[in-house]
Point group: C2
Chain length 226, copies 2
């Protein structure tokens, strides 16, 4: 929607969002909450992965989940059924969460609380990359069923994240997907990125990803305490 | 990006797009070109399906393909290698094609020509739904690996199309995906929609989809001739 005539306006929207994201970040830090933003195309398995993480983390940490969807609260209900505290944001016609939506939720009653807040963004590999929410960590999921060319075609989101989780690895024998190709492309875009291979179906790789997430949380807690 | 404050502007952008889409439609009709817009999430298999269709159609009809991607021309090159006439539009930061991008290409040298022009939109289940391009037919792909809840979560695009093609059906035994659930949801959103099940890997369903596409093309040719 941002033709050259609308370029200036789009830049203003991004600047406003960045400022609100900074305010959210302070808010999260004051709450003592570590915030992780999960992004991917529709159907890469964000909700299922978040459900697994929340279940495994909840005995160690207090966890809330924020679900972003155009309409409905299917995913939030799915989490609540599993005993996870979940809050729904309906984005309507917007193809991503923005910092203002998160700010409004943080000032609502009730609002997400806990030592870790997990955000599930709208399924989209383009716009969520340009709209930070105040999160501490940005994770991009890529399902092996989507093809190994996606980091080339959607470079911004893979450049602008802390980790890439390759999901549905149980299907690897049935699809054309080369892990080395993806690793090479993603590392060229983003040399410091961490890569994980995960299947929520057979549990492969979940422990490694969870250990990394907990380690990052501890680093932030220590840094905040100094 | 369209917060309430930007709602008015967003409506203006959509109106401008609708007007340009109408102009494109007249342009296509004057050219005698039947235009089909393919939309889906990233990795649902648009390029592979389009490649199959273009190869099978090109002995009967003259066909051009317009590829929309944020960056690069991977998909256009893939089509050209197979002998298909292909034109790339780079959308940059935009998460969808718009009517202005198509209009510019139609006035460029060289530009797409032929009795059928196939457009591959940017991989995104949200915004392409609200930006008509002047096409005669709108097709949405949904891969069985994405999950059968997608029409509930992204209703606008499934409401606003002529056919839904369920792709990668060769993987059906390895995923949780219920055809009846999807058919029920999609038909509730869009009673007149056609549904197809296709695998480009084993060829299942391709003949049926192609026959429907050719029939629609003939209907339009006949209607134009009257």
């Amino acid at each position: 929607m941002h033709d050259t005539t609308d370029q200036h306006l789009f830049e203003r929207v991004l600047q406003d969002n960045d400022q609100l994201a900074d305010e959210n970040r302070h808010h999260f830090d004051d709450m003592g909450a570590y915030v992780v933003n999960f992004m991917s195309a529709p159907g890469a398995g964000k909700t299922t992965l978040i459900l697994e993480l929340a279940k495994r983390l909840k005995d160690k940490l207090s966890v809330s989940v924020i679900e972003g969807d155009m309409v409905g609260d299917l995913d939030a209900e799915r989490l609540r059924t599993a005993g996870v505290s979940a809050f729904q944001i309906s984005t309507g016609r917007s193809c991503h969460l923005d910092a203002a939506m998160i700010a409004r939720l943080l000032h609502a009653t009730p609002h997400p609380e806990g030592q870790m807040i997990i955000i599930e963004n709208v399924g989209n590999l383009v716009c969520p990359a340009e709209f930070p929410l105040g999160e501490h960590l940005r994770i991009v999921l890529l399902s092996v069923t989507e093809g190994d060319d996606k980091p080339i075609k959607y470079p911004v989101i893979f450049h602008n994240c802390d980790a890439v989780v390759l999901t549905k690895t149980d299907l690897i024998d049935h699809v054309d997907f080369n892990f080395e190709t993806v690793e090479k492309t993603v590392k060229a875009l983003n040399p410091k990125v961490e890569l994980f291979k995960v299947s929520t179906k057979n549990g492969d790789g979940l422990d490694e990803f969870l250990a990394w997430l907990e380690a990052r949380h501890s680093i932030t807690l220590t840094a905040s305490a100094v």
